[in-house]
Amino acid sequence: MSEPITAQTNAASADQAAPAPKPKRPKPKSMLLLNEQTQALFENARLAKERGEKVGWSASIFPQEIAETLGLNILYPENHSAGIAARHQADPFLQDCEGPLGYSNDLCAYAKVNLSYASALNNESTVEFPDGGKMVKPDFLLLTNNICNQLTKWYENLSRQMNIPIFFIDTCYNPSDYVTETRVRYVRAQIDQLIKDLCAFTGKKWDDKRFQKVMKISQRNSFLWERANSLMDHKPAPIGGFELFNYMSAMVCNRGKTSSTAVLEQLNAEIEEHIKNGTSTFPVDEQYRISWDGIACWPYLSHNLRTLKKYGINMVASSYGKAWAIEYDDLDGMARAYCFASTNGDNASTMIGRRMEALKKFDCEGTIYHVNRSCKVMDCQMMEVQRQISEQAGIPFASFDGDQADYRNYSEAQFETRIQGLVEVMAQNKEAKENG
């Protein structure tokens, strides 16, 4: 997110008509550190631009460590679009994109928001920036397609629109259960070439010692992120699962930075403190533990949370955030890890295997699938995945129609009804279990 989105701030904006809003819980120190980090990201990019340095935009699962080693300032369109959507500011961008810019309504809403934002930066659109245009105009693009193929097309268009180069690592879809060695060789060759090309373009020099250091920081951060997620296996879970979504910017935008280490160490300490004290930030008693499949429904995060809270449902496992826990220890390892990071780039067996592991580890009683209208790669095999996981895990699921950034693709009534149905089955299962 361009600014951290907390469940509290979302709830506050959506609940304006509520009679007596509860006083806000003070933000934990980890969140304050995250806010500082996010502000620094945008401010540093702005200052770099002022100094005449080249600033880039990057796909969210690009090997961020490369740019970090070169000391480049990079911003993340997917993250920024999510922030715009979560703050209910997406509408003018969506209208502009589907209207004057001529794009189809069918496309990814992250892309639509960003393509319109980029048009405004390029003086081709009159949409006003809700954030002062802090997503400064890029001089180059860093692209990987491990998340989806739409990113490739989206960045092609940005490149043409702003006449800037794309530095691309094609990570290749994995129909096999592993990353084939020929993929590793292809991706490694691209990484080597990209480093050379990026140095030539930006005038920066590659420093292998610096890379080793960044890699260690990145590995430490991946460990801390994974650990924070893992601590959700305690019962009751020490925090509300949706809160972890808020910390994703530390991994998405700042994976190779020590500032993320500080944020995540603090987050881990806060979670451990809750475990020690038997407390939780989840505001009601944890009745049910579920996993969440898919990207957050950012425009309705507060409604999702309120509905789940009503039934004491805590989201203790998510398929999404863990995509950024990327582990490796050299450039070959980096090539392999980035090919295998996102389950969007992996076959259904790998996806099902990872989901089953999480359901078991976190003792989930159900799964909620977000049928995200923006994301065909997540939706077009979801039904088969649901069938297999439900059968193997023996737990119920509910799916709902939503969108990661387009507020028009969601129905509060549908979400509530689906969750109600899920709760009924989970309650029956719980009762049957208790009665032996």
Partner: protein
């Protein structure tokens, strides 16, 4: 003229009844491999002694496919899945699925679990074609496909066979390009529906057989005097332009199709496999790296608009009909740019939605009529 009519009707029949073509080859004791669109490496199937047959969906009621794909998935994939689940593709020894878009990625998995009786062979083409390593990577993908094909035939493909298949495919490319050009002098005979039938029928023939028929058609056409088409001439852009009801509306409005960049038609024939460059697998990989102006292949600069404008100039077309495959995101990203480039070049563009399951074309008819008046 009798031969011409007969040949055109043979191809129209094949186009109208692919199942009969499948049964014909099965009856000959041939094995047939289903080829999902687009760019399936048919040469590998051909060189393995089997018949590659295109799977481009069709008109059907979607029932079983709804258990695998959401309503906003590509209509070709929806109907391919339906045909797979319903048994319409019974007899195929395997299918090859190129994971060229997000929906195709998922189709590899849906097919694998949903239609276990017809094995799925995936291929993942490289998208960073500026990287020299993409060639070796693609060769390894081809080798994986060949390994899986050899489990069906029990035989290993050899270099000589692949060289011969590449020749046959290059010849077919040339024949189809010549047909498209010759047809433009005979638009009274090669109407939009006839042109489409000739183009699409290629997916249901062994390619040297198809080349032979189309060569005869070209020869017969060349014997006839050139025809001056009184109506408007257009170029088609997109993945495909179906079904016949839609093409019939072009004819009602005196539109002639004089060129296309459709993935199902001319786009596949634009790029030959180079005669030199190494072994046959390497040459095939080099062909991939030479393809240009396709929404499904990453390329800098978005050259498609200029390519379409140039095609209009060469063919005498006065505009472009953008055949937007419903829910096809790669095409949807290209559309604003190529349409903008066409407008800048002075060529108007009409966008119509393509959905094989559509049953009403009134809206399209009105739009096409308006476009005719505008031109």
């Amino acid at each position: 003229m009798a031969d011409l009519k007969n040949n055109l009707s043979v191809l129209a029949e094949a186009y109208g009844n692919p199942r009969a073509r499948l049964d014909y080859y099965l009856g000959q004791g041939k094995k047939v491999i289903g080829c999902f669109p687009p760019y399936t490496p048919e040469e590998l199937v051909h060189a393995s002694g089997m018949i590659p047959m295109g799977l481009w969906g069709g008109q059907t009621e979607l029932m079983r496919a709804k258990s695998y794909l959401p309503a906003f998935a590509c209509p070709i994939m929806q109907s391919d899945m339906e045909f797979g689940l319903s048994g319409a593709y019974r007899g195929l020894s395997a299918v090859i699925i190129p994971a060229l878009c997000d929906t195709l990625r998922c189709m590899t998995q849906n097919w694998r679990f949903g239609v276990p009786g017809i094995p799925m062979i995936p291929i993942v083409y490289p998208q960073n074609r500026r990287s020299p390593a993409s060639v070796d990577y693609l060769i390894s993908e081809y080798e994986s496909v060949l390994t899986m094909l050899s489990t069906i035939t029990g035989q290993m493909m050899n270099e000589q066979a692949l060289c011969r298949s590449i020749e046959i495919y290059n010849e077919h490319n040339a024949v189809m390009r010549e047909f498209a050009q010759t047809a433009n002098e005979h638009l009274d005979i090669v109407t939009p529906r006839v042109r489409h039938a000739v183009m699409k029928s290629a997916f249901f023939y062994e390619k040297s057989e198809h080349s032979a028929i189309v060569r005869e058609i070209i020869a017969e056409l060349k014997k006839l005097p050139a025809y001056a088409h009184p109506g408007k001439k257009v170029v088609l852009a997109g993945i495909m332009c179906e079904p016949d009801e839609l093409l019939g509306i072009f004819e009602e409005n005196d539109f002639a199709v004089v060129g296309d960049d459709l993935a199902q038609e001319s786009r596949q024939y634009r790029t030959d496999t180079p005669a030199k460059g190494g072994g046959s697998l390497r040459r095939l990989a080099l062909q991939w790296n030479c393809r240009t102006g396709c929404s499904l292949i990453h390329e800098d600069g978005k050259p498609r608009g200029e390519m379409l404008a140039s095609l209009c100039r060469l063919s005498g077309a006065s505009g472009v009909i953008s055949c937007m495959m419903k829910f096809c995101d790669p095409e949807e990203y290209d559309q604003p740019y190529y349409e903008g480039d066409l407008r800048s070049a002075g060529f108007p563009c009409l966008s119509i939605e393509i959905d094989q399951q559509n049953t009403s074309y009134e809206q399209a008819r009105t739009r096409i009529e308006t476009f005719r008046e505008m031109l």
